[in-house]
Symmetry: C2
Subunit: 227 residues, 2 copies
DNA sequence: GCAAAAGTGTTTCCGATACACCCATGA
DNA sequence: TCATGGGTGTATCGGAAACACTTTTGC
């Protein structure tokens, strides 16, 4: 059996929660096949751990290192690669297109400002898609995204993980908007702030927003803490 | 790469939290190798999903169907099978002993009273071991158990999953003792009961304990609810 | 001075905690 | 009658939730 990793890469543009999808590549031989969008992923190499494979995929795709990445689920249905388009694509790109492949799902949080789009070796160009408007994807990738989103919601409240999606300097309103969009519900401003400040994951900077047409907000940064 | 599943099977004997371990089999050729204890597990077969493979392993081992089983983590370090004993064992039992194998960890909750020990096709006899006194096991199985236990603790409080370890009819004291042992801390009797009853996962039967030398306890059963 | 978002405290409510005595049974 | 665990209610505390007005900037 082959083993791959697939990465659900979340980003936040201050308005929408997005994920990074790639266009499948056209075959080099000039033939054309129906292409679909897909999650960035790749087969795990011989001497690579799962985590390393996921990190490599992410690096090839985004040129970013040291970003938040977490395994959340293995997907091993023998029929998970059953669509006609999927099989056609596999025949073009895999040495053993008939071989069964299971995948391990990772999700990742990137700061969109850091993201430098870069064509990955295994894919066409990458694009950010609103997570609530994802089209039909290759393989079982829609299911993988659904599960990743559940996990993200859970970790957001349990571990206050949201900082990873924001710029280094951010306002509490940005952070609140992020939480509201991920959780899909409105939060009370004062209570939200109390919570965030109590957790002490965040430090106020000697700096304010500039050039906004309202009272400029205090900027914060977050305290990276390894447990 | 080969893919296996390993099952961390939890049981509860009213005093201790235990897990089911197997003795690795001796080679059929009469040679002897150093055997270790291990988690029940097996390679995933060609047309089997991961969940199906885990369920099969469990069925072969316990003859039980329909028991609680949940995937919790994939383990894919290329060096996870590196011990000398491990390699010796693999050479005796695997067609491709050199091939890398990753495993998907499942944990399972069984009612010990239902358990009918049965030699599995791939193993010697199974035995219940106190989860807090597990010896050094084959492969990375100690690590897998540690992670499974963390998961169990988490799900116990989040999803009130403990019923799965108790007989069909149980007392609230049994349930409390189970929680105390898994979480490794004492709980207040009255508060515990309030919590359990409020959750409505449990129904009082018209039946009491018999033959105990104290006030007989009310028996309860739990409401199986699919979400 | 107006529009727009920032920032700020107090009260209320509910769930979590702490705590001690009587009860039913078998021996 | 005694030993053993079963069973029960209330008062307190603390965190979560609800809620509205003033401030600072750019135009």
């Amino acid at each position: 059996m082959d083993v791959s990793v697939d990465c659900v890469v979340f980003g936040f543009d201050d308005q929408k929660l997005k994920i990074l999808l790639i266009e499948q590549r056209q075959p080099a031989d000039g033939s054309t096949i129906k292409l679909q969008k897909a999650l960035p992923g790749d087969l795990v190499k011989d001497n690579e751990s799962l985590d390393e494979a996921a990190r490599r995929v992410l690096l090839e795709l985004t040129s970013l290192e040291g970003i938040y990445l977490k395994q959340f689920q293995a997907f091993g249905d023998p029929n998970r690669v059953r669509g006609l388009k999927d099989q056609e694509w596999l025949r073009s790109f895999r040495n053993n297109p008939e071989r069964r492949v299971m995948t391990v799902g990772y999700y990742s949080l990137v700061k969109m400002e850091d993201f430098n789009p870069k064509a990955a070796s295994f894919a066409g160009k990458a694009q950010w898609i609103d997570v609530y408007k994802v089209p039909l994807l290759a393989f079982d990738h829609n299911e993988i995204i659904d599960d990743a989103l559940k996990m993200l919601r859970h970790e957001l409240v349990a571990d206050n993980i949201g900082f990873e999606l924001l710029p280094d300097k951010f306002t509490l309103s940005q952070l609140q908007r992020l939480h509201e969009i991920i959780l899909d519900k409105k939060l009370d401003k004062r209570n939200f702030r109390k919570n965030i400040l109590k957790n002490e994951r965040v430090t106020a900077l000697n700096e304010k927003q500039k050039g906004v047409l309202h009272k400029p907000a205090q900027l914060f940064t977050f305290n990276k803490v390894e447990e």
